[in-house]
């Protein structure tokens, strides 16, 4: 028991530390490496709960593929510089985020710890976990019997992912054609529109024209030019 507890505490600490690292480190590469720590910790916890197959998959797929993909993209785009973390441009975002995060955690814990027994469900509706049979076999059997349809449609999901990635990453030619749809730069757009026409009730209620509509006006010539 003590070993198990020790494992849990250690792995848990790694998980939490990694998670905090993902959130707090400024350098994107460091974030990715922290993610690896969490993934590793979770894998350990899988092992502690006798989910060996999933632990292996976790390491192979997540750490071995997904995080590597992250790192590739980081290097490809050259965004491994440190992020600006000083002040959040959205007022109150950080405070609200932390408050909501704590609230979600707290409320989830209230729900999780509401009763003496966390788990109330009927055991083993799919198939009982048996310590005699390796969990690979059990998962494999479940996948190809009860969840055969789910297993098959993951093919569609992966096809979509491949097609989507190819389509999106394909280099597109031609200039951007809609920047003039928006008035000025993003910074200009930050200034909120004043409700200036309050004085004129007819305009206010149902009139098609609104002073703000200028923002959406496109100069036809520019558009034509750009689309050529």
């Amino acid at each position: 028991m003590r070993v198990e507890m020790f494992t849990f505490l250690l792995a848990g600490l790694i998980c939490l530390g990694g998670a905090l690292g993902v959130v707090l480190f400024r350098n994107t590469v460091h974030n990715a490496l922290s993610l690896v720590a969490t993934l590793f910790g979770v894998a350990v916890l899988f092992i502690a709960q006798e989910a060996y197959f999933l632990a292996a998959v976790q390491v192979i797929v997540y750490a071995g593929a997904i995080v590597i993909l992250f790192l590739f993209v980081i290097m490809l785009l050259g965004v491994d510089r440190a992020d600006q973390m000083g002040v959040d441009p959205i007022v109150g975002q950080r405070t609200a985020a932390v408050v909501f995060g704590v609230a979600i955690l707290g409320l989830s814990l209230v729900a999780l710890l509401s009763g003496p027994e966390v788990v109330t469900g009927t055991p083993a509706t799919t198939a009982a976990l048996s310590s005699d049979i390796p969990d690979v076999n059990q998962i494999g059997e479940a996948l190809f019997t009860d969840y055969v349809f789910a297993f098959e449609i993951t093919a569609v999901l992966l096809t979509i992912a491949v097609v989507g990635a190819v389509v999106l990453a394909r280099r597109s030619d031609g200039p951007v054609i809609d920047e003039d749809e928006f008035d000025g730069t993003a910074l200009d757009a930050l200034a909120l529109e004043e409700p200036s026409d309050v004085g004129d009730p007819d305009q206010d209620t149902a009139d098609g024209a609104d002073p703000g509509s200028g923002a959406d006006e496109t100069d036809p010539d520019d558009l034509e030019e750009a689309s050529r």
Partner: protein, 660 residues
């Protein structure tokens, strides 16, 4: 014959489709002819339906024709079905009849307009919707027509949409009516919930003993809210004067004869429900009375010829609601019919005047037009006498019945009657004023353009109501050299026909005993009789008072406006001695409090009701702007909202946890 009932709305609908498809190709005037013929056809079918119904025994005069089931929803199903009973057929007859005449008139009036065929498209659709409204055998079908006439009214008001004021008047009509529609929808739901059906026959069957008085009151009030929107009663009447921005035939058809009466029709249709509704009837009567008074006061002060008629319409509609609220449904329907004829006549006449006067609508620039427009003048005079309540013209008989019903309406009856009489006086006064300023008086005031009074307050008001400058104006301007000319036959024929009807239509329900009470007899299977007939003596006294009042009103106004006897020494009636300065005349007739009341009306119209309509819009916009601050474009802010939503939901479930 009952199985061709569907033809009545179908014919104008077919006309609508036809014109929609080929209207542009048919052009001027063929498109108008097609439109007129379809409506006339439906008038003929209505006539057949009338004879058919008349051949049945009195208590079997209810014919239902179900075409198919529209909404099958479990226990609640709605049919596309038509109901033919005396009330419906009466409505159909005068709707199709007047509409046919107005179509004919429009052929001439709209000649040369670039959207000639489109006008008839809308007009035909309107007639179809209106007929659906009256023929439908259930509330939902009526609602369909109700919405249809609203939409058409909106389209027609805004017909000359290059003018901003017209478009905004159309919008105002639409929005005001939506408020009323809310009442209709909720009322329909309540009826369905309490009575389990929205078919009129079933409602009227089940209503006795099947509904609590409180519920009935609520339902009736909701439908009355709907009616106040469509029939331009307090507090939702604001749209109607503005709606005069549309072409004049539209004003005649929609805003005088047909659509505005649909509120009265609805309440009459549901008369068994009204009988259960207790004090809701008093509300209806008093609101009708108040509207009639307020609108009559307002009409006195208008200079735009169509606006006078608009306020007059509101006032007459108020009379009808007074009758309905007093339980005198026959009187209400009777006044609706007579009013339809003489008000359509007056509007078309005013249209002829406006057309002849290069689309000038300000009466202060008219005068002595009888010299130029003989036919129009004669017919207009008929309409004037009818609305003023001069016997034997139609308006006298129906107004008399309404006033008698008001007299008979419980302890407050005489008070209502007295107010009604005052309104009659005002009516006679302002109509005489209109006629005198337009057709008589000797002075041809458009020839002296500087004549217009330059009261700064009025100038400001004119500026405020911007459309007064422009409506109906196709770029013409009234010049001093202008010579008005009588319009062509398509416009005068309807005037003459309507003039004849405005004279004689009162014959359908004379108050001289059972024998000549045709309309009451005819409507007997449909309408409840809430009152015993008053004794002939009282009736005679009431009628005499009404006649006197009418004559007084006419006389006073005539002296002031036609004979220009605006100075004290020429006064003949001592009672009005001090009142014959023009300004003083207002004070005398309207009275000191009346002037304040008029101001009050103006304020109420422009500030409170207008303000409320605009205020809702403004409030919505402000709320929207406030909320849109959160829609900041930052994906993280959106995610924050998702997280916040999750927190709120979690708080809710944690509070609901069984073990805590």
């Amino acid at each position: 014959m009952a199985d061709v009932l569907w033809l009545i709305p179908a014919l104008p609908l077919a006309g609508f489709v036809l014109l929609m498809a080929f209207g542009r190709r048919l052009g001027d005037p063929l498109a108008g002819v097609v439109g007129t013929l379809t409506v006339a056809g439906s008038f003929v079918v209505s006539l057949f339906a009338l004879f058919d119904l008349n051949s049945l025994p009195t208590d079997e005069r209810v014919v239902q024709q179900t075409l198919f089931t529209w909404i099958p929803a479990g226990g609640f199903s709605v049919d596309i079905g038509f109901l033919s009973d005396p009330l419906t057929i009466t409505m159909c007859l005068f709707i199709t009849g007047i509409a046919a005449l107005i179509h004919l008139y429009s052929i001439g009036y709209m000649a040369g307009d670039e959207n000639y065929s489109k006008f008839f498209v809308y007009l035909n659709l309107f007639v179809a919707s209106m007929l659906l409204l009256v023929l439908g055998d259930n509330l939902l079908l009526t609602f369909l027509g109700w919405e249809g006439v609203g939409a058409c009214s909106y389209l027609l008001i805004s017909f000359w949409f290059t003018d901003e004021a017209n478009a905004s008047a159309g919008k105002k009509a639409f929005v005001t009516n939506r408020i009323g529609d809310f009442g209709f929808m909720v009322g329909t739901f309540l009826v369905w919930m309490t009575l389990g059906s929205i078919n009129y026959l079933e409602i009227n069957e089940r209503v006795h003993g099947g509904i609590a008085a409180g519920t009935a009151t609520a339902i009736v009030l909701l439908f009355f809210l709907a009616a106040t929107g469509k029939s331009a009663q307090l507090p939702l009447f604001v749209w109607l004067p503005d709606a005069m921005a549309g072409p004049t035939p539209v004003s005649a058809l929609i805003h005088a004869a047909t659509m505005v009466t649909s509120g009265i029709f609805l309440l009459t249709r549901l008369n068994p429900l009204l009988e259960e509704a207790g004090w809701a009837n008093d509300v209806i009567a008093w609101v009708g009375l108040a509207t009639a008074l307020v609108a009559a006061l307002a009409a006195v002060a208008q200079n735009d010829i169509k606006k006078v008629l608009a306020y007059s319409t509101i006032s007459q509609l108020g009379y009808m609601f007074l009758a309905v609220g007093s339980g005198a449904f026959v009187a209400g329907v009777f006044h609706m019919i007579t009013h339809a004829f003489f008000k359509a006549l007056l509007f078309l006449g005013s249209g002829a005047v406006i057309a002849a006067m290069a689309h000038e609508q300000d009466m202060r620039r008219y005068g002595n037009l009888r010299k130029y427009l003989p036919i129009t003048t004669v017919t207009f005079v008929v309409g004037w006498l009818a609305i003023s309540g001069v016997p034997p013209f139609a308006g006298f008989w129906s107004k008399d019945e309404v006033l008698a019903a008001a007299w008979d309406n419980g302890p407050a009856g005489p008070v209502m009657w007295a107010i009604g009489v005052v309104i009659a006086l005002l009516t006679a006064f302002y109509m005489t004023r209109l006629v005198a300023m337009t057709f008589f008086g000797g002075k041809e005031r458009w020839r002296e353009p500087e004549e217009l009074p330059t009261d700064p307050a009025e100038a400001a008001a004119a500026e405020h109501e911007a459309y007064e400058d422009a409506p109906d104006a196709h770029g013409h301007h009234l010049t001093p050299e202008h010579t008005p000319r009588e319009p062509n036959w398509t416009m005068t024929v309807p005037l003459v026909v309507l003039g004849v009807f405005a004279t004689v239509i009162g014959l359908i329900n004379l108050p001289f005993g059972e024998k000549v009470d045709y309309l009451a007899d005819w409507l007997d299977p449909t309408l409840a009789h809430a009152h015993e007939a008053l004794s002939a003596g009282i009736l005679a006294v009431l009628a005499a008072v009404a006649i006197v009042v009418a004559v007084v009103g006419i006389a006073v106004a005539w002296r002031v406006y036609a004979q220009h006897k605006g100075s004290p020494e020429k006064i003949e009636l001592p009672a009005f001695e001090h009142a014959l300065y023009i300004d003083d005349t207002y004070a005398a007739v309207v009275g000191g409090p009346g002037e304040a009341a008029f101001d009050g009306v103006a304020t109420f119209d422009s500030e409170v009701v207008d303000g409320a309509v605009n205020g809702v819009g403004r409030l919505t916009q402000l709320t929207g702007r406030a909320v849109s601050v959160f829609q900041s474009g930052f994906v993280r802010a959106y995610a924050l909202a998702v997280a916040g939503g999750a927190v709120v939901l979690l708080v809710f479930v944690v509070m609901r946890m069984s073990s805590s």
